[in-house]
Symmetry: C2
Subunit: 432 residues, 2 copies
């Protein structure tokens, strides 16, 4: 890279500004630590703290800060042509319960560091660059019932239906997301019906995020350029209804054992997953929540109910469609076999999102220019970038290495990797 290239100065400044990123992440970790891991509840105190901290830092750096009615935070670096299509970057600030510090926050802090470095270099970009810190990307960890997650970005993009706010039910207090909005002085109807970004012409969206699996670590590369993001089919509140009875006195042929039936359902789903894998097609399957009724279950009772979640993901729409047909058939088959009823409930579905080829090419060029070793990678997790992409906005993602997965207290990143990712992000924001 030519040392007289103004971008060279930006890249140098990113390196200097990493202390700011480090401070921000440390303060988040200190203030939103749970007795184990990190808890920043969607539309809860930890997330609120993170948004306030971000606003404070950005204001002190001389950047414009504003929010929308869904309580997303925006930070603007004005461009020379204020009417040109905006370039956007960002991620989210909430977390799963007792999870890690970096899922979401790493992307927001990288975007903030990139923006302030561009500003400090005295560069006025050709168009506004807007950092969006999204709300409630992790809503799945806090709200059960029927909703499609990614509440903040979907609200801003006009992809949220008002019904979801009623059917998303808080896992602890049983109240709806709409009620939680009212508690916060928000207007639930307006949130769904007045999307802040609807009328804005957006050139592209760039999101940096930690990898949520071990692939970059196993390939010994610090940075991933995301090819696409797996879509999913989810049953948030599936149930199996059998009959409670005595665990000693009732012969098996007279039982309607919900636990036995559910165990076989989960096994068969895993067998199906192996079959799909053997055909070299992409699929992962998880039942993260599974429980008998704590008010009625007992060691001496045959279980009359189970409740569980299903999360199937694939980069191939065809696999998701086929699983969407398979699951109710499996429920019927095992329901008949075990004399129980599987109630899978309403599916939520998210389509796979293929990242924009042009923006991926820009990221590849950036890696070349900055000498960054990278791997092309599929994202297993959903991200706010999915919503931008499915809304027709060219989108791309940068992953940074994290060997411990995410949604757990052991997420970890190397600041050197975050530095490389942030350099690439800054470069791409000036070359997209």
């Amino acid at each position: 890279m030519n040392q007289h290239d103004p971008i060279f100065k930006v890249i140098e400044l990113v390196e200097r500004n990493m202390a700011l990123a480090d401070d921000f992440l440390n303060e988040l970790e200190t203030k939103t630590g749970d007795h184990e891991g990190i808890t920043r509840e969607s539309y809860g105190p930890g997330e609120d703290f993170a948004h306030e901290l971000l606003s404070k830092k950005a204001t002190s750096l001389g950047l414009d800060v504003y929010t929308d009615i869904a309580h997303n935070t925006y930070i603007r670096l004005p461009g020379s042509d204020r009417d040109a299509q905006t370039l956007m970057t960002g991620s989210h600030l909430d977390s799963q319960p007792r999870a890690g510090n970096y899922d979401g926050a790493a992307g927001v802090v990288a975007s903030l560091t990139a923006l302030t470095s561009i500003k400090d270099a005295g560069i006025t970009p050709p168009q506004d660059i807007i950092l969006m810190a999204c709300r409630a990307e992790e809503a799945s960890g806090w709200y059960k019932g029927h909703h499609r997650g990614h509440i903040g970005s979907r609200a801003a993009l006009g992809r949220l239906s008002p019904e979801e706010l009623e059917t998303a039910i808080h896992v602890r207090d049983g109240r709806s997301l709409a009620e939680h909005f009212l508690d916060r002085g928000m207007n639930p109807e307006a949130v769904a019906k007045e999307p802040h970004l609807a009328d804005r012409r957006i050139k592209g969206f760039l999101e940096l995020h930690i990898e949520q699996g071990p692939i970059l670590t196993s390939r010994d590369t610090p940075v991933g350029v995301v090819e696409g993001i797996r879509g999913n089919i989810r049953c948030r509140s599936a149930a199996c209804i059998g009959e409670y009875t005595h665990s000693g006195g009732v012969p098996h042929e007279h039982r309607r054992d919900a636990v036995n039936a559910t165990a076989e359902f989960i096994n068969r789903m895993d067998t199906k997953r192996r079959e799909v894998d053997a055909e070299s097609r992409d699929m992962v399957y998880s039942t993260g929540k599974l429980f008998t009724n704590p008010e009625l279950h007992a060691i001496t009772k045959v279980a009359g109910e189970t409740f569980f979640s299903i999360d199937v993901r694939s980069i191939e729409e065809q696999v998701l469609e086929s699983m969407g047909r398979y699951m109710p058939c499996l429920g019927e088959e095992l329901g008949a076999k075990h004399c129980v009823e599987f109630r899978l409930g309403k599916y939520s579905r998210t389509k796979p999102a293929i990242m924009d080829p042009g923006m991926r090419e820009t990221l590849h060029r950036g890696c070349g220019r900055l000498g960054i070793n990278r791997t092309d990678i599929i994202s297993g997790g959903g991200h706010d970038a999915v919503e931008f992409s499915l809304n027709g906005i060219p989108s791309a993602m940068i992953f940074i290495r994290n060997e411990n997965g995410s949604h757990n207290p052991d997420e970890s990143i190397d600041l050197d990797d975050l530095l490389l990712g942030t350099k690439l992000l800054a470069w791409a924001l000036l070359n997209a």
Copy 2:
């Protein structure tokens, strides 16, 4: 039966006194009803109410009432030879959470009806007949951790170890049974160390109980004579420890999925059960409790833990021993396969109890004399009679038909069946 036989009068009086039994059961149902089913917690308010009601009724019928330090209630009909070996009868008054009205209570009320009918007929039995209303037979539904259940009868018989009172942990408040005893003004050490029945010479124990399965109904007989009671091996607090991680981003070969592993464990246990059954050997298997960690689980996380119970029962000691060896091997095998750790914890074991041949013969003769159609039957449920039997006291049980199983709100009995069972009980108490 000879109409001048004094036993004829007793049998007639049982028929008349059934109104008393009906009233007693109705009052229990009204006063210990939960919003669904019946709840008489072991050493809790519902059980206390039942014992107070029993004491009041027995006193009003002119019978001696007393209690022991474990709060079991005893009702005595004095015999002509007060030094002769005592004949005992009874059952328990507690219930599983939100269960039925008859499991336990039917036996106590039948015993009370039999005693008062013998008294009303002016018969002085050759020895004391003592009704014992046992405490906490259903402790398994209320206390997790390590204990062997049947707390009241085991305390009275000297079969309870003081350690169990510390390791039995209340399912809701997390406090030990010893602490609950202290709350009630009881002395936990004395309960385990000063067994009320230890020095008493007991001729036999007779327990009437509802059947806890559908066998009598399917054979269209009102009364069963129990041949033996299944023993069990139980793991109250088994766990599978894997690792929480992201449900989308982590390839399956890198996962340590506790739900998938546990589902396979349960399936394999059920397969084993089918194999044992195919060899015409006796075994039932239930996992009545199964749950991921409600504070950490999420639809978007691979489950890092499961917690579950195991209840294996058989009338054959050899089957129980073989399962006791099989389960840890299965845990090892599937632990290695799924990269998780199964922690089955300490087993509790109860041996199968074969009912006394002489007393069964007496019940067979009674059925013949009273014209009662009966079936010989194995008991799947454990009962206080097990503890008497394992203590070397000749024991026997009468089952009455109940088509809906037990430990659920749908337990039901026909008063005509209870009448037949009570007649048989009264007859046997005078002929044992």
